[in-house]
């Protein structure tokens, strides 16, 4: 089958949204299909969104593909006779974040009209799809609530799970994801002020906002945490990531109301590491069950510090939660066979 994996990119921004498309293309080819990436540049600038959507509608795809699988928004607005949407998030400022500080425009005309037009366009385009999957229950619930559209959950796997390995548990909590304010690494750094054990923290990941990484470093210096907190705001190669996880005490991932469980969570689980997350982390809570496959705490530095200390003081706890996290991957059916079977049905 000739399959187009259609998604959007912001140039120079790497991360899960890009990986999922590239990995899906690779897996489709491994399965014997002809697969091609169609990566359309896009921007969330409010006054450009509808224009981009209109442009996407004009792209001829029927002639090249038997099926297209759309991913990052607004790729789902493309037209094709057999369009499967694997919907990974809305343009959230116009949806669930409208009534929050993350709303990108004022709450008045003409912006409310733009919001309504975006929602209507999404609803229409997704209504054209042959099938609709989401990457989490959270996103599925938003689709139901805002667009009146039903969907199935299809959890995204990592590319090569077998390459992750589990070594002895060390002293370090690692957080490997983009270093951005909504990922809330600042809570982890703040938490290190309150730990009473010898636990250490390592933050790794590219940042779209250099000021945020600088602020994290400033916090570390201001509170004399340099000996126990390492900050590496750069791209972390896959093997380096696997090595860090293999000897970590546990992982931490505390995004604010994230769309999915996030690759950091499932990568840690593949390495037999539990994840410490927050009760308002969104999709991560579909994977991490408190006291079973990780630790869920309020988004509060004191509570995070207590979780870090608990894992440091009781390595059997860290090992038990990590082993359960690895088992949870299977329990949730996270794997490429399941993904391909669903997307190609």
């Amino acid at each position: 089958m000739r399959i187009g994996v259609v998604s959007t990119i912001v140039p120079f921004v790497r991360g899960g949204g890009r990986f999922i498309a590239e990995w899906l293309r690779d897996k489709l080819e491994e399965a014997g299909h002809q697969a091609a990436l169609v990566m359309l540049p896009s921007s969330d600038e409010p006054d450009r969104i509808l224009q981009q959507m209109a442009g996407f509608r004009l792209i001829e795809l029927d002639a090249h593909f038997d099926r297209v699988i759309t991913l990052r928004p607004p790729a789902h607005v493309v037209r094709h006779r057999c369009k499967v949407a694997w919907f990974i998030h809305h343009i959230r400022g116009f949806y669930d974040l409208w009534d929050t500080e993350y709303r990108p425009v004022p709450d008045r005309a003409p912006w409310t009209a733009l919001r309504d037009a975006i929602r209507a366009a999404d609803t229409r385009a997704l209504g054209e799809a042959h099938r609709i999957f989401t990457n989490s229950r959270v996103v599925g619930e938003r689709l139901r609530a805002f667009n009146g559209i039903g969907s199935e959950v299809l959890y995204p796997p990592v590319l090569d799970p077998g390459l992750f390995r589990a070594g002895a548990h060390g002293d370090e909590i690692v957080c490997i994801c983009r270093m951005e304010h909504h990922k809330r690494q600042h809570l982890l750094v703040e938490a290190m002020r309150f730990v009473r054990s010898g636990v250490r923290l390592r933050l790794c990941g590219e940042s779209f906002d250099p000021a945020y990484a600088a602020a994290l470093r400033d916090t570390v210096l201001r509170h004399g945490l340099a000996a126990r907190v390492a900050i590496e705001d750069r791209w972390i190669a896959e093997e380096e990531k696997r090595a860090l996880l293999a000897t970590a005490l546990a992982a931490a991932y505390l995004p604010l109301d994230e769309d999915s469980y996030g690759y950091p969570t499932v990568e840690a689980a593949h390495a037999g590491r539990a994840t410490v997350t927050a009760s308002d982390a969104g999709g991560a809570l579909e994977f991490v069950r408190d006291g079973e496959s990780g630790i869920v705490v309020p988004p509060d530095p004191l509570a995070i510090a207590a979780a870090f200390d608990a894992l440091f003081d009781d390595r059997t706890l860290a090992a038990r939660l990590g082993a359960a996290a690895a088992e949870r991957i299977t329990a949730l059916g996270i794997g490429w066979n399941n993904v391909l079977r669903s997307l190609l049905a």
């Binding site: 000739r2 187009g4 990119i9 912001v10 140039p11 120079f12 921004v13 002809q34 091609a36 169609v38 990566m39 359309l40 540049p41 896009s42 921007s43 969330d44 600038e45 450009r48 224009q51 981009q52 209109a54 442009g55 996407f56 004009l58 792209i59 001829e60 795809l61 090249h64 593909f65």
Partner: protein, 137 residues
């Protein structure tokens, strides 16, 4: 500097500039420029739909664009350098885009002559193996 090498090629179709794009990204990286290739799924044959679609796209988080062919040349950006490797299609939209570009270069004399003939624009010549300095000036 974040520089996008922007091009167009149809999925599963002929992609004569694939090696050029990859080499450009490598060469820019070697000279300290953060470069990424972006390929739009458009046929080189002009049509109103393709022109409108290309003009509707948005390149965010990008300081400079090196556009290699129609209709990549039509994608709006404040700092476009058109470096054409084939004769221009001659559409009016292409002429307007080239006129608005910061600089227009051709990969050889024949392409430069075609740009002058079809759009009245005198393009400099930068061959694929030349130093890339003119793309960064």
């Amino acid at each position: 500097v974040k520089l996008v090498v922007l091009d167009a090629a149809l999925p599963f179709g002929a992609d004569p500039r694939a090696a050029l794009r990859a080499a450009l990204v490598r060469r820019f990286a070697a000279s300290g420029v953060d470069a990424e290739a972006v390929v739009l799924p458009f046929a080189p044959e002009p049509s109103a739909a393709i022109e409108l679609a290309a003009r509707s796209l948005c390149l965010f988080n990008t300081d400079r664009v090196v556009a290699l062919a129609f209709p990549a040349t039509l994608v709006p950006h404040a700092a476009v350098l058109a470096w054409l490797h084939e004769a221009p299609c001659g559409r009016a939209a292409e002429g307007r885009a080239l006129a608005a570009a910061q600089r227009v270069l051709a990969a050889d004399a024949a392409v430069a002559a075609a740009i002058l003939r079809r759009h009245g624009i005198a393009a400099g010549i930068l061959r694929p193996d030349d130093a890339l300095d003119p793309l960064l000036a």
